[in-house]
Amino acid sequence: MSENRKIKVLVCKPGLDGHDRGAKVIARALRDAGMEVIYTGIHQTPDDVVNTIIQEDPDAVMLSILSGAHNALCPMIMEKLKDNGIDDVLVAVGGIIPDEDKPILEKHGLMGFQGPGTELKEIVEFVKTNLKR
């Protein structure tokens, strides 16, 4: 593909927590870094997330979860992506992710784990350096 290709990122909040200020701040930081950011809003089911990924074909997906349901939601999303043959999308999760859960999520192919206090430029850099295509 041509080298001036824009990075397209999906920012979304799976599950039932309704606090999306963090997700919006990240969406804006990525926008300011010149990326095209789709924001889908709160209360997304794993099917919602996967169908959006299929249709929008983003380079990266940033999941924001503060509710503690990451161990249930994230593996479901990864499983459904695999079922659909999608393996070239960077999937990251951030929010409140306890250290002991990170290896479990890593095993499912998730990355990132940025929590409160992370520098925005760090997140931008993370997306840029971990793209799979």
């Binding site: 593909m1 041509s2 969406a27 789709i38 809003g41 099917d47 299929i54 249709q55």
Partner: protein, 330 residues
Amino acid sequence: MGYEALIDRLLKGDTRAAARLITIVENDIVAAEEIINLIYKHTGKAYILGITGAPGSGKSTLISTLTNIFVEEGMKIGIICVDPTSPLTGGAILGDRIRMKKHFNTNNVFIRSMANRGQLGGLARATEDIIKILDVYGCDIVIIETVGVGQSEVDIFRSAQSVLVLLVPGMGDDIQAIKAGIMEITDIFIVNKMDLSGADRKVSEIMQMLELSMNFKYDYQNTNQKSANIPKWIPKIVKLNSKTGENFENLLEIINEHKAFLKETGVIENYHLNRIRNETLQILKHKLTKKVEGLIHSNTQIDEYIRLVMDKSMDPYSMANLIIQLLGIE
């Protein structure tokens, strides 16, 4: 690179193939050319509906409710949502999906967000190509949501068969603001949020405007006597509530009426001719601009002209004419 495999899957209605082809077409104009060349003969089945209006007038919500009805009728719907690219950073927030949440899991609805990437006019460069991909994908209706528009973002009428413009009560004198641009290309005026006070007044304001103006959509390039023979569609007005679905039956009736009008009067042929003419013009502009840009930075002859202009022994217009001669297209 060969795109045949993806296109084969697209023809069978494969969603991932459609999404991937859209990505390619959006990012790579050379590849777009190859892909459109291969799929063009399969296009022409979808009805194209354009939705435009000021930011916050309810375009996404209207599309969501409309899509509900179409899907219940068993149709497959493609939705293209265009949002603006930041002129400062080149980034964009695409947020139209938020209002269309209930369709995320419907097999018959394909929603795609795109940034306009600096193109003026309310659409993006690749929008025309994406319409074609969704057409081939098997969509019965392709709905295009433009960026929230102001006065003169009228590109949508060159792409869509029916143009719906959303207005809301209480936005002051916006009829005045839009009368020179959007007013002339609208097929159906929608006064959304009809539960707010002032809805009836808005309807009568539009009516008054319509009595004074005419719709140029079907003959915008032929304002000569030829156009007198082309039947005119008198734009319809409907007030409704996109959140509750109130009065949507009226909107559907008017959309069907407009569809029938285009077909019965033969105006649809005019639309197709104009659409192709305009699309070709856009492609030519793009290609020629590229060519001229290449020339102006690399041609030594032009460097000499520039020096002549600097010495005041030639003016920029004369130089432009000489460059056109260099291009060999006059």
